[in-house]
Symmetry: C2
Subunit: 156 residues, 2 copies
């Protein structure tokens, strides 16, 4: 049985692949019953789709692969705290647990135009049942922003 660390490392590795291909430094991996169902990096530039955050891409891919819109029992590992769009997509998909590395405030510091509402605040205001594990492999996740910064790309 793989561990949370291994699943998050898969998301981190996918984000690195994305950076090398000119994408932004975000990766997400969705797991059900100990198996990775999808693992994708941000595809906003590649797909010319502002909604193609890593988490949204992974949720769409998981729906397609599992042939359902109900992802109950799934865990999402994200290298950065899901933005409110992605957090809400997790809610609609009924994802059971969110595990994230860096924080929304970190992404903002690196120039991303984040709506600064943390997952904890979203969960609290809306009484969402999702479990959240914060700051998981935070240093390794933060390193992605530095690696991306060295590539000379711009945030949006």
């Amino acid at each position: 049985m793989k561990t949370d660390e291994q699943f998050m490392q898969s998301a981190i590795n996918k984000a690195k692949e994305g950076i090398k291909q000119g994408q932004t430094p975000f990766g997400a991996c969705i797991v059900k019953d100990g198996e990775i169902i999808s693992c994708l990096h941000n595809l906003v530039f590649e797909n010319m789709d502002i909604t193609a955050h890593a988490e949204i891409c992974a949720i769409r891919e998981t729906c397609r692969r599992l042939r359902t819109i109900d992802l109950s029992g799934c865990i999402i590992y994200s290298t950065c705290e899901p933005c409110p769009m992605c957090f809400s997509a997790c809610h609609w998909a009924r994802i059971s647990r969110i595990v994230y590395g860096a924080r929304i405030e970190d992404a903002r510091q690196f120039g991303f135009n984040e709506l600064e509402i943390s997952n904890e605040v979203m969960k609290q205001i809306a009484s969402s049942p999702v479990e959240i594990t914060v700051d998981f492999l935070r240093q390794e996740s933060l390193e992605l922003f530095r690696f991306w910064g060295e590539s000379g790309q711009k945030a949006y």
Copy 2:
């Protein structure tokens, strides 16, 4: 020059088309410089994609058609207040104005599993610059839920 009423009516008509095809009662229309760029209904069931809300579909289509991820200057007309996922997608896309009909609380009353955070609250917490026009053709938009209810479909 078409009016706000006409653009919202296009979104309402599109939602009706969706209901007839077994989709949920939501439509959205994106306009730039007085021209409709995209007008789509919810496609969650059709695409087996939990993220395929009308607004997300319209934003994706607009990015594709205008070949940009920057939708500054665009207005979105939505038959229902965008959920936090869709509101945040509008933010990322830098949509200038949101015009909506029914409210998130209405959708909840009809059984949809909405995160109950209004656009006004999202805007306030995150200091978003988007303009919001509320309760626009509200009665006509509410009528969509009733029309959908008569079709015997279930909310999710």
